[in-house]
Every structure is written in C-alpha cells, then in structure tokens.
C-alpha cells in the first residue's frame, strides 16, 4: 500500500494497539503516520509538574525534620 505523505517530515510508524474496536485497528494498520516534533507547551507542563512535586516533597521533609534542638535527626 502506498502512502502519499503530506509533508517532508512525515514519518511512517508502526501502529500500536489502541482503544479501538478490532475493526478500527485493522483499518488503521499500515497507515498510521505520526508527525514528530517535541511540544514546547507539553515540556513546560512537565517541568512545572516535576518542579512542584520536588518542591512539595522537600517541604514535607523539612516539616517532619523539625526538632527543637535543630539537630536534624529524624524523629522517633
């Protein structure tokens, strides 16, 4: 089956199993084309999420390490 791409950057990619009916997967096979570029917005979302998780994690650790004598030993 010949696939006429629509742009120079089109790359042929084997289809993956998807949340489709069997027939849908059959129909899609051999014609799945994915355009490959990274997304700036998506990258930003990832960076922000990871930064927040790290930041909140460290804050929780900081709270749990709180001791009156400031020795920094974990409690209990």
């Amino acid at each position: 089956m010949r696939v006429v791409g629509t742009d120079r950057k089109l790359v042929l990619k084997p289809p993956k199993k998807r949340l489709l009916t069997k027939r849908g997967i059959e129909l899609m096979s051999n014609t799945e084309i994915i355009f490959q570029t990274p997304g700036v917005g998506g990258a930003l979302a990832c960076v922000v999420i990871v930064a927040l998780v790290v930041c909140y994690g460290f804050t929780l650790r900081w709270i749990s390490r709180g001791r009156e004598d400031q020795t920094g030993e974990p409690p209990r």
Partner: protein, 285 residues
C-alpha cells in the same frame, strides 16, 4: 491583514510571557509558530482559490467537485441517515445567505436563498483552528500557506471544529468505513485512511501539490504546461461542460499566477472578512 499589527501583537505577547515567567522556553514557544525548524523559513507563497459563483450555479458542476473530493480523499460515502450535521465534508455546497451572512441583505439582485455556493476550507492567513489546536495536529504550512491536518496525531477534542468560523472542519463521529469491504473495494489506496474520533478537513489536495512539486523539481520545463497543481475539485469542474474556470487555483505569491490575475481584474468577496482570519478562498459574484 495588517501585518504590522500582527507582528506587534506577536512580539508583545512573547515579551510579556517571557518577562512574566522568566522562561526562555516560553519565548521559543511563541516564536515557533509551527512544527519544525525547517518550516520556519517563511515564504510568500500562498495557495488560493477563486470560485466563480455564477458558473457554479449549475448543480452538475457542484456535484462533480464534491464527488471528486470524496473519491480522492476516501471520505465516508454514506453519511448517516437523519444526521446531516455529522457528515464529513471537505467541500460542500450551501445557500449564499448561510455562508455570507454579512453580505446577504434583502435587496440583493438575486434571491440569496436560491443561490448555492461551493464552500471549503479558506486556508486562512491567521487560522483560528491552528491557534487553538492543543497538539499542533493542524498547522499552517509556512512553505505554501496551506492549513494542514494530521489525522493521526489529532486527539479529537474538537476545539478546532468549535473555533473555525467557516464550518470547514468535520469530526469522524463514527467509523469512516463501517464495512471492512468498503475500504478494499472503494478506497483509493494512495490516500491514507483515518480512524473514528478525529477531525479532518480540506488540504487543497496537498498530496497532489507534493506530486506536482516532485515532477517540477525533476523537470522545471513542466512549469510551462503545468504552472500550478490541480486539486481534485478544480479538475472535476473543468471536465464538466461549461465548468471551465469555475474554480481556479494558484499561488498568490506569484503575481503572474492565474488567481493573482483574476483577483487583479475582477471584484471578489470573501467569507466573514471582519473576523480577521484572512481567508484565501475568493468568490466572484
């Protein structure tokens, strides 16, 4: 459109975001308006179409265009009954007054209710659909100004369907080929099929444009006999008796192209100009 204003808005927007967040990534995000770095070399090319409304009054011409597009791009042949609003259409025909609500005043020479016009994606200069797409599955191709669609990246959020003022985008509400045999018997193997749950639209026959480009690249002499690629609808209209020149296709960046000449010589109108999207399909009334 007012180029200065657009450029100013873009620059001011990037600057504000960049300052606000202090994030170089943001600047990158605003300046790369498209997919890849290769496409950044902006070119003056813009494929455009001129539709002669008078010639297209002939129903056979309109039907031929629509049918040719269906065949060329494997559009589902059987729109679900009772669900006209779920039809997948790239080029279609409807009343003048629904397509040009701002032009259809009641003293128009011709009753606008009777006048049918061919409608398709306007391949806008500032496409509303491209702005909103969350995956860049639809984008403005900088090399030739076509609003492209990658049906294999689309997540089916339908934001573009909602945002497009011209109704040019259709969602695949059901399997495009519900019958497995259809695709073997009827489908044109040269064009990729798509799945249910994605949006599609007219691409000005981007596949034909590419084949033409390859031919011309190999043999530049061909430009004389074949100065521009011929989309399926244009080809179909030309084949119908009296349909020659009903649809004309060419490059606006080339002042010698057929569309540039027609636009210079005759008065044309566009759909919903006031929205500022800069449509590139022109109508000779």
């Amino acid at each position: 459109m007012d180029e200065n204003r657009r450029n100013f808005l873009k620059k001011a927007g990037s600057a504000a975001l960049g300052l606000g967040c202090g994030f170089p990534l943001l600047m990158a995000g605003c300046s790369t308006n498209g997919h890849s770095s290769e496409e950044n070399s902006s070119s003056p090319n813009q494929w455009a179409m001129v539709i002669d409304v008078q010639k297209c009054k002939e129903p056979a011409i309109r039907a031929a265009c629509i049918e040719a597009c269906r065949k060329e791009h494997n559009l589902p042949t059987n729109p679900p009954p009772n669900q006209p609003a779920r039809e997948v259409k790239w080029i279609w025909s409807d009343k003048f007054e629904t397509a040009f609500p701002d032009q259809a005043h009641k003293y128009l020479a011709e009753n606008p209710a009777d006048l049918q016009v061919l409608l398709l994606c306007n391949h806008c200069t500032e496409p509303a659909c491209v702005k909103v797409c969350p995956t860049a599955a639809t984008w403005k191709r900088k090399s030739d100004g076509i609003v492209m669609m990658d049906m294999h990246r689309c997540i089916g959020c339908r934001y573009c369907v909602v945002a497009c003022p011209y109704g040019s985008r259709s969602f695949n509400w059901r399997d495009p080929f519900p019958d497995r045999n259809d695709i073997d018997k009827q489908a044109r193997k040269e064009y990729p099929t798509r799945s249910r749950g994605v949006v599609e639209k007219c691409t000005f026959c981007a596949e034909r444009i590419r084949l033409w480009q390859e031919r011309v690249d190999k043999d530049p002499k061909l430009l004389e006999s074949e100065p521009a690629p011929i989309p399926a609808c244009v080809e179909a209209a030309n084949r119908v008796a009296g349909g020659e020149g009903a649809l004309r296709f060419g490059n606006l960046g080339d002042s010698q192209s057929e569309v540039s000449r027609v636009l210079r010589d005759q008065n044309t109108i566009c759909r919903q100009l006031a929205l500022g999207t800069g449509p590139n399909v022109y109508y000779l009334v």
